[in-house]
Symmetry: C2
Subunit: 467 residues, 2 copies
């Protein structure tokens, strides 16, 4: 269906829409709703709805479904793969006005929130009640918890607390035909048939629109310790990871590896300080969240000493304060400034077996150098979760050779049995490479699920998978 | 379709079956394959297949699907709800000959196993490699890991490690039409489209037959401490839980509450010793798995002391050895002997908001006493996971009034917004009460999923949900 046909259907739909739902229409469409944080640029929807409650979401979806008009759900619009970018002339449905904490249940350690609530608001509400909401990522101030759910967001502390999927106990979601599915369970254990909740988490708004969530809270950590460790090789990083898992046990809350190419670029960012002297083949940020300074502080120090004695660590800096912990994270978070310091580049987020990451980095570095004249790359990531990030670029090129970079990276991912998306999702930008990571039979199962829940194919069509 | 019609179809199917698949036929059917651990009694299948590999599973399923013959998957046959009990005259397909560990990947902390492998074999293989497979339940010696997956088994340490779902990174499953779905990922992070794996976990063999699994391993705990705590009321149990979460942090590995009715019956089991003096309104077993005796031992003691000082605990026994830990678990595991000491009774496994459990126990006790002449009940469970177990019975009755007990219990569960099955699944025995815990819209989503993956309705028909 082309843009003109869709627009004419939208006009008909608006005329017949119940008044309660029509009041959710926002016209003109504000610039923020024209795209997400991908590099795809703006696209104008035919209509933007910002519903105030689930009933309005249901009314708009039912009308769009009856008219066969595509609907693109939007949250904080911080996605990197185009999942929330409008489809020309179609409906954009933003959850931005459905924001707020509805319930905090101390005994169940749960919080019930509306899908448009910013992640940072959720984190602060948890903290104010003496709890900890463990999902955290750079876009915390802008991203919405519904978007975190629909993309199954990851972040820095997955090694301890899991992905968004692991922090969501219940959802309320609206199917394309306007049916409201109430699966707002607060129960950790609920073996009563299929896990309906999991269908909506991570499906990037292609099966239903999440409107409410029951989130799992953890106790607020009593203390945090971190160290930056310089290592002689990647094998030492693996030994350090094994040692951290055994000695720090479940207090281990982050394990971030940085290759020398990343380290050099990160330490050149203004305001970032290198806490070590001299270069290393790999540098790791280890963090542990404990309950008691007097118990967990000495344990963390003893762990580092043992790793030194075993020859795993060449050099290390140990945090003496929470300020030090933040400074160490400064090196890891420096990548947020690379757009300024490096110039244009392409960012990747791939999943790999932990043991294969160094071999992958070597192969991928070569592939990028061969695919693009002078092509450069840097590697870093949450290796304990099997998640590697990398950037690739052609220095000095005014227009970056995106497709050549994509092909070089994703072919290497396929060769290593990896995943083309560990955290960021598929959206539209990674869709051409989905089959690098999923078997034809898995893709067929996905198609059957899509057809079962969205037979008219109105929800985010063209994203993730074509059914 | 009646038994005779199915039998005639089976005869035709066997004649046309490829020789490689026919060799999986086991005739006559051994008594063990006639039922599971539910109270439903034996039922004879029309044919039993025990395939040796995934290709044989696929060949049998493809033939059964073409002929419209129902297939009931079987594992260790320890399920309590009839999920693996044969359907008269139909095919039973047991994974018992597909057993073994295929791979143990240290860097990824994963193990790849065949679905028929007993849980205890998995646990021991993990331990031999210095790891810990955290799923544990009473039937460990008999139950198969594929059955644990297809029922999303829970057990004693969910509060720390999660359900089976949280310990499964990848699956290989065969669809009813014989399609082999390879989703054997070792990756914790894999945001490439829908989570296909989750469809098969917990669906009790109604969507596909799991043939292989990638399991998540944890580091082997360095030390274990436990205490039995006598409390003045349920509110103290909630305060103790909050304290344990804060002070023991992620080392907290079990929190088992036992009401006085349970405590009395458990301590009367031969060989079980009451470590406390005098009765309490609630008794809790707290366990923590640490990394280092010298650090985690004092922390556990300090936690108990603080709870005493705050008046949360009336009396407590602290483990001095791993023998003590096992003795404390003896009281909690005594329920395995209740068949002998109590006589016939009905066992329930319900999910409830943690804060509501004592009110539920009171209401349910009254409901059972009113529904059944002289009706008695005992209550215990993993309250930190929102999971309560209970037994109900009519003392002295030669035939237990199962339906009256079920109705009394499940009506109370519905009134409290709980789940009719926290761990055990639905099978056939809980199917009449499924709608007490799931909304009509959730049930409709389940039906759509069932129709999408099993359009001929051959996989475990009549179990969990009718589509």
């Amino acid at each position: 269906m082309d843009g003109t046909a869709i627009r004419s259907r939208i006009a008909d739909m608006l005329r017949d829409l119940p008044e309660a739902a029509r009041s959710a229409l926002v016209d003109p469409v504000p610039p923020r709703n024209l795209t997400d944080w991908s590099t795809l640029g703006p696209e104008c929807p035919g209509a933007l709805f910002c519903p105030r409650d689930t009933a309005q979401v249901a009314a708009v979806l039912a009308a769009a479904n009856a008219a066969g008009i595509p609907v693109v759900p939007q949250g904080g619009l911080t996605g990197l793969c185009g999942g929330a970018r409008p489809i020309a002339g179609a409906i954009a449905l933003s959850l931005e006005k459905m924001s707020g904490i509805e319930d905090l249940d101390e005994a169940s350690s749960t919080m019930t929130v509306l899908a448009g609530t910013p992640l940072e608001t959720v984190q602060r509400a948890a903290e104010a009640a003496g709890f900890y909401f463990a999902l955290d990522l750079g876009a915390r101030g802008s991203c919405a918890i519904g978007g975190n759910a629909s993309t199954n967001a990851g972040g820095n502390r997955v090694i301890r607390y899991g992905m968004a999927r692991d922090l969501i106990l219940g959802v309320e979601a609206v199917l394309p035909d306007g049916t409201v599915v109430d699966a707002l369970s607060k129960l950790i254990k609920n073996n009563t048939g299929y896990d309906v909740r999991q269908l909506f988490v991570g499906s990037e708004g292609t099966l239903g629109i999440i409107t409410r969530l029951v989130l799992r809270l953890h106790p607020r950590p009593g203390c945090t310790h971190a160290a930056i460790c310089g290592l002689a090789d990647y094998d030492s990083a693996l030994r350090l990871l094994t040692g951290a898992r055994r000695k720090l046990g479940p207090t281990l809350s982050a394990f971030e590896a940085m290759w020398p190419d990343y380290w050099e670029v990160a330490c050149a960012v203004p305001g970032v300080r290198d806490p070590l002297s001299g270069p290393h083949a790999n540098t790791v940020l280890v963090e542990a969240q404990g309950t008691d300074e007097t118990v967990d502080g000495p344990r963390f120090e003893a762990f580092l000493e043992e790793m030194f004695e075993q020859g795993v660590i060449e050099d290390a800096a140990l945090s003496q304060s929470i300020g030090d912990v933040q400074a160490f994270w400064g090196v890891r978070d420096a990548c947020a400034e690379f757009k300024t310091t490096l110039g244009p580049h392409h960012a990747y987020d791939v999943g790999l077996p932990t043991g294969a990451m160094d071999d992958f980095a070597r192969a991928c570095r070569t592939a990028i150098a061969e695919a693009v004249p002078g092509g450069r790359s840097v590697f870093y990531g949450h290796i304990g979760d099997g998640n590697l990030h990398l950037l690739g670029w052609q220095p000095g090129a005014s227009s970056q050779p995106g497709q050549a970079l994509d092909e070089a990276v994703y072919a290497t991912v396929r060769d290593f049995g990896g995943s083309v998306s560990a955290e960021h999702g598929i959206g539209t930008t990674k869709k051409p490479y989905l089959e690098h990571s999923r078997s034809p039979e898995e893709l067929e199962v996905m198609r059957r699920i899509k057809r079962a829940l969205d037979p008219n194919m109105i929800l985010n069509p063209g994203k993730v998978i074509d059914a």
